[in-house]
Amino acid sequence: MFMRFIYKFSSPPYFYAISGKIIPWLTALFFLLLGYGLYGGLVTAPADYQQGDSFRIIYVHVPAAWMSMFIYVVMAISGGIGLVWRIKLAEIVSISSASIGASFTFLALVTGSLWGKPMWGAWWVWDARLTSELVLLFLYLGVIGLYNGIEDKRTASRAVAILALVGVVNIPIIHYSVEWWNTLHQGATVSKLDKPSMHIDMLIPLLVMALAFKVYYAIALLLRCRNELLEREPNGKWIDELLEKVK
C-alpha cells in the first residue's frame, strides 16, 4: 500500500502536477513564518545577559546549521532509495538537495565566523565542531562535483548516492562533537534530551525560523526537481501532453 503510493507519487507527470499546486501555498507559508520569526527574533526577543544584542545572529546561524545536517540526511536517504529501488525521482531529490544543503552549510559557517569574532575573539578555530562542519561543506561540494563529472546522469546518480551514504557518518560526529571532545564551541542549547537552556521568549522565534528554513528547503527542492525532471526527459510523452494543455 505504502510502496504503491510511493510509486504513484514518484511518477514524473503526477509529481509535476502536484508540486505545481503545492508551491504557491508553501511560498505563502514561508513568508508568514519568516516574517514572524524575524520580527520575534530581532525585535521582541530580549537581549542576552552575556552577549547582549549580538546573540541575535543565532536566528540565522542555528537554523542554517540544522538545515545543513537535515538536508544531508535527506540527500543520503533518497540516494539510498534510488540505489535500491531505482526510483528516478529519488535520485533527482538526492542531487537537487546537494546545492541547497551546500548553501546552508556555507551560511552556517559564515554566520558562525561573524559571531565568533566578537564573542570568542577569533574568526575561526580548528576545534571539532567547526572542522566537522567544514568537512560537511566539502562533502556537499564533492557530491556536486562528482555528479557533474559523469556524463550519464543515471550512473552519476548512483555514484553520488554511494558518496552521500559514506559521508553520513559525519552527521553524528558534527552533532556530538561538542560532547565527545573539548571544543571552543559551546554545547547544544535546544537539540538535546534535556530542557532547552534558552529563555522561552528567545526560543519560540528560533523554532519558527527553523520551520521557515524547512519550508524554504521544500520550495527550493520542488522547483529544482521540476527543472531536473524536464531536463532529464525532454522528449517525455507527459511533457507533450502538458504543453498541449497550455496551448
Binding site: P46, Y49, V125, A128, L165, N182, S197, D201
Partner: protein, 146 residues
Amino acid sequence: MRIIKQKRLGLILLMVAGIGIATFFGLRAFNDNLMYFFSATDVIEGKAPKDHLFRLGGMVVKGSVVRQPSGLTVRFVLTDMAKEVTVEYTGILPDLFREGQGIVANGKLDANGIFIAQEVLAKHDENYMPPEVAGSMKNKPAESQK
C-alpha cells in the same frame, strides 16, 4: 526482483555500518589530538606538553584577576573545578572575559608552572536568557563548566 532489492539494501546498510565502525576506531585512536584544549588537571598531572605551545581551557576563578599597575599584563587563575593553574597574559582580553567565565588560552608553561598565554579566547556557554532572569538566578550556585 525482490531478492535483488533486498540484497542491495543489505549491501548499503553493511557499507554504512562498516564505515561507521571504522570511523569510530579512527576517532578513538586520535582522541587526544581532537581535544581543542587541555584542562587544569591535565597540566598538573603532566599530560600537557612541556616544551611547546598548547591550549589550556577552564573557568576564571572569581576574585583571582590581578592587573599589573602599568601595562596590559593580567594574571588570573583557571580552574576545572578540581585543579588550578595560574595564567599570565599581556594584551587585550575579549569582551566576554570576566570572572566566572570559561576561556581558552594558547601558550606555554614557564619554569615556575605559570602558564604564559599568547592568546585568550572567551568560551561562552549554551545558556541564553534576558538579564533580568540572569540577575534573579545569581544567588544560585553557578553551573559547572564542561
